[in-house]
């Protein structure tokens, strides 16, 4: 850590900062400058909590050189994490995974049709939402546990592992009964209680980036889960909120290679939520793979025009088959067997 003092900080204020650093069992290395003094902090193992220093008089800024995540950092774990879900393996060197399914589970028939579509086209995992966070109170809110059963049943029938979002700690028991992977949605990326709770479970977690979360906050959120003992975390970029509203969100695809440098965790992309536009989903799925994503999560629906949720971004059967065929070609080109 580097502590930058105010231009007009007194010698006494500098001394107090130095003493406080030493009280913390660390060493202080003052760097006098022509404009202001800076004080280097030495001897720390990992991130230093700056609470005791930041508020001292004369301190202008604390600049952290260590980051608020260590367990998920590639610096200390150069080897990649491969997350296994049944036969599916996600991570460096593995074939990219394709997770497909409807935004929300609507009925046994819809879920079964979607599962057959997904399986037939070659997806490796089935998704479906039972608890839906909706912006307004009068929209369809999901089928709850009834929906979970339909999802499980559909997955079993076609032979695909299933993933679904858990929004509250109290839903964990029910969701764990039915789902192979727990999804933490963008709105819950900083629901730290929930993160800790899933960190104590023996179940893979798909963690979506928050709508306005920086890469650093995203990795710090993953650190919460891993710190509790659950290392099977898959990250998911799903678009961030910016001034541009021509797409639903702004897909921040550059963070895929960046996060692969920074962390050993696998990362996938959700082009459906990121763009919100059906016609962009296939092309951005391919771009995601080329950018180094370990997979994509795509919304499909047997009848998008009648979907109760997010139909405008869902692919129908033929469109999804065509996408899968393109992805297979691309994966082969990239050296994988999809």
């Amino acid at each position: 850590m580097l502590i930058v003092m105010e231009h007009n900080a007194s010698a006494e204020q500098v001394r107090r900062v130095q003493e406080t650093i030493e009280t913390m069992g660390l060493q202080a290395a003052p760097i006098p400058g022509s404009e202001r003094t800076a004080i280097g902090v030495l001897g720390n193992q990992g991130y230093v909590d700056d609470t005791a220093i930041r508020n001292l008089p004369g301190v202008r800024e604390c600049i952290h050189v260590s980051k608020p995540y260590k367990l998920v950092s590639r610096d200390f774990h150069p080897g990649a994490t491969i997350v296994e879900i049944g036969d599916v393996r996600i991570g460096d060197g593995m074939a990219p995974v394709v997770i497909a399914g409807p935004c929300s589970i609507e009925s046994v028939d819809q879920m079964m049709a979607a599962a057959r579509m997904a399986k037939k086209a070659g997806a490796s995992m089935l998704r479906g939402g039972a608890f839906k966070p909706r912006t307004g109170p009068h929209s369809f809110q999901g089928l709850g546990e009834k929906g979970l059963k339909m999802l499980r049943q559909a997955g079993d029938q076609v032979g695909l592992p299933v993933i679904t979002e858990v929004m509250r700690i109290e839903q964990l028991d029910a969701v764990c009964q039915y789902a192979d992977v727990l999804q933490i949605g963008a709105r819950n990326m900083q629901n730290f209680d929930l993160l800790k709770e899933v960190g104590r479970l023996d179940r893979p977690v798909l963690l979506k980036r928050g709508m306005s979360a920086t890469v650093e906050e995203f990795l710090a959120a993953a650190e919460y889960i891993v710190a509790e003992g659950n290392e099977r975390v898959v990250l998911c970029e799903r678009g961030i909120r910016t001034f541009e509203r021509a797409t639903r969100n702004t897909l921040d695809l550059s963070v895929v290679p960046l996060i692969r440098e920074m962390s050993h965790l696998p990362i996938i992309v959700d082009p459906s939520h990121a763009t919100g536009l059906r016609s962009l989903v296939p092309v951005m799925s391919k771009a995601a793979l080329v950018a180094g994503a370990h997979g994509v999560m795509v919304e499909v629906h047997p009848d998008p025009a009648r979907a109760l949720c997010d139909g405008a971004q869902s692919l129908d059967g033929p469109a999804f088959e065509s996408l899968m065929s393109e992805l297979r070609g691309l994966a082969a080109y990239l050296g994988h067997d999809l």
Copy 2:
């Protein structure tokens, strides 16, 4: 609602949209244009769910004229809502309220000292956090129920109602036992389950705007609470996330008068979280009142340099007294008795 068709939409596609509208019990009014056809929807009472239409072939866009909130809208409830908490009244025509207290409850002594500071200077409500959402897993996470008791005790001792954040539904019982007002934090603004739950309680709610929530989403979140029957909702602007990082967030003060036009609910401002800089808190508190805020929520701490959380934005006793004295003068100028 207005449905805009693609430039090259066929007559058949236009017809299908019209039929779908009529199936919904509404009327369709086609507006042929030189570039494309638009279709007006008539006869609806309030917001129309566009799911069935948005996904039809040939549809380019659905433009909503009605908004996804009605209960909280000033259009239909021109009279202002005044929220009462003990002797405190928040809303149009009332003296601005000042809520003060530490970011987090640390000990009986700290809480009592803060309560005395708040009371002595003239605050009308006491705040303190017992459950703390922290970005990284290794920071101080709050005292939990033990902290709630300290808050209640401190409030009772000095004679101030107390407010604290509730982060999970399971905390509601405990929090309701101790707190006069329930705070929903920015990270939970779209935790719809929690919103619905507090909507069923007979307890005032302070709803903070999410870090990347639009005004429309903010009001739609309040609608969730009111729709369940709880009309005692106070909104709170606390800064949004933008590209500018010189301040912790960007205080969006213009939404105060805007929301006062759009909604009948009271709105206050939290300059401490918005700016993150102690030196800006007093001046932005005053600006908030002049902008029409029904109050401010300010972080104070008996010893900010030793605060376990957010000390850099906390005022100490003398600074808070001086702020209160300025606010009193300003309130008197604005015609209120603070």
Copy 3:
């Protein structure tokens, strides 16, 4: 256009809006709703200037169905524009173009070395900046016309067309003397005088998206150029400013397929400025091609560690050769001959 009236707009106010529309030679189609009246405008050819209506009493909002660009819109020109620069052709169906060169022209030797690097690896155009917009006044500001000569010379020597940024109208004569393509930088995307001026020239233009420009504003800026008669416009996505600062800008790659739907103009991507990180440039170049970009513009430098500008995002010779070899493979996979 659709005009939305206030909830409490009077019949008189509605009538005044109708009359104003008719004065403009258009037809008004009122759509009374349960909450408010909307008024459709019919009979217009293209975008309607709403100045006369927007300010009338009782008007809440004017919603445009036609867009503020028509000449660059795919709706009215379904065929793609192919921009030819010497032997290079940019646009639908053409092999992706690779433009390479240093951020700024520093010397004859540097420019020649860069040109040889670019040519040897297989780039199809040479870039280099002679006039540099720099954030602070004390950084290197470019060599001006001396630099332009070096660029031209280097391009001629290796047989590559050259592109350089023009920042002011007065530079146009000099730049046109040396450059095959005129680049309009992000900071000048809304320098409308400059746009109009280059619109009157017979020289291809590369128009970069402004740092905070929406897709709609981007296309409207291109419309300025085309409206003056110059149809040889190539768009360039180079990242937008968002809250995320881990990359220099946020590369908004989804706009590539979106703009290809909306406009007939070619669009390329600049991953160097977008990410600001050398290690991300190759992977995002490939992702750009897969997303449908008609080319990429990449910063290369014979000795990035000694570059006077943006070295951190520049590739050296071996890195650029390796990128070109990857792009060739990818282009072949996509059906092109790079």
Copy 4:
């Protein structure tokens, strides 16, 4: 400056950085850490150009402790700058200035009527645009030099100094002939050639913040002007672009007190462009004064409903008189004589 090395940087790489620093005539102070090495740079006077270092192998990040502006910084010039324009004085301790006038100059009659409105209500300066940057090519583009004459004439007639925007260097001669203050618009905040040019003139400059400019970039732009010798610079906050579109821009009012801490230059606020909504202009003008702004710039128009530009945010005569009367009261409360 602090240089942060990569976790796995070699001793050789650290050594090369040290040597480079010493070549620059500065001292290097390595700070070895448990995770990575950092290197402090000592002995610099002001901002260090990091070009030569940033690109060296093994360097992760260069953190600047000095800022890219010094002349405009309060650190080195604690006394405030007071800008004088005729009898008007802008800056610390002066009565807040009110600049009023139409967005664009439309005719002699309109300009004269606006000038009389401004004068009668008590404004201290007159504004009006002769060259208008408009998003689309077919909107009204301003009257040019003819407009400048009308502005000058109107100002002379009522006895108010006049301010107008200059968009290009070639317009400088004409504008200087007619205007007392040169306005640099938001789109030109980083038009560095223009900044340098006005920096060489003996004429006060009003510099508007760019739509996506950070505070640091804003001050660095002012530094360009001051570095050329012109110290009469007034800053103007006019809203930034964020995800929120309920207002035209997001007025970032907190930067007013922040900039007053950081710089000795005066700063005013433009609530008309910031909010884009007439009904918010008065209340945000008052909030601006309380936040410490040295003045406000407000759009007024004799007949907003017929304005050729930005009528929706313009005040008419009675509204402006009422605002001025409120501002007078507020200024008196704040201890000034408006």
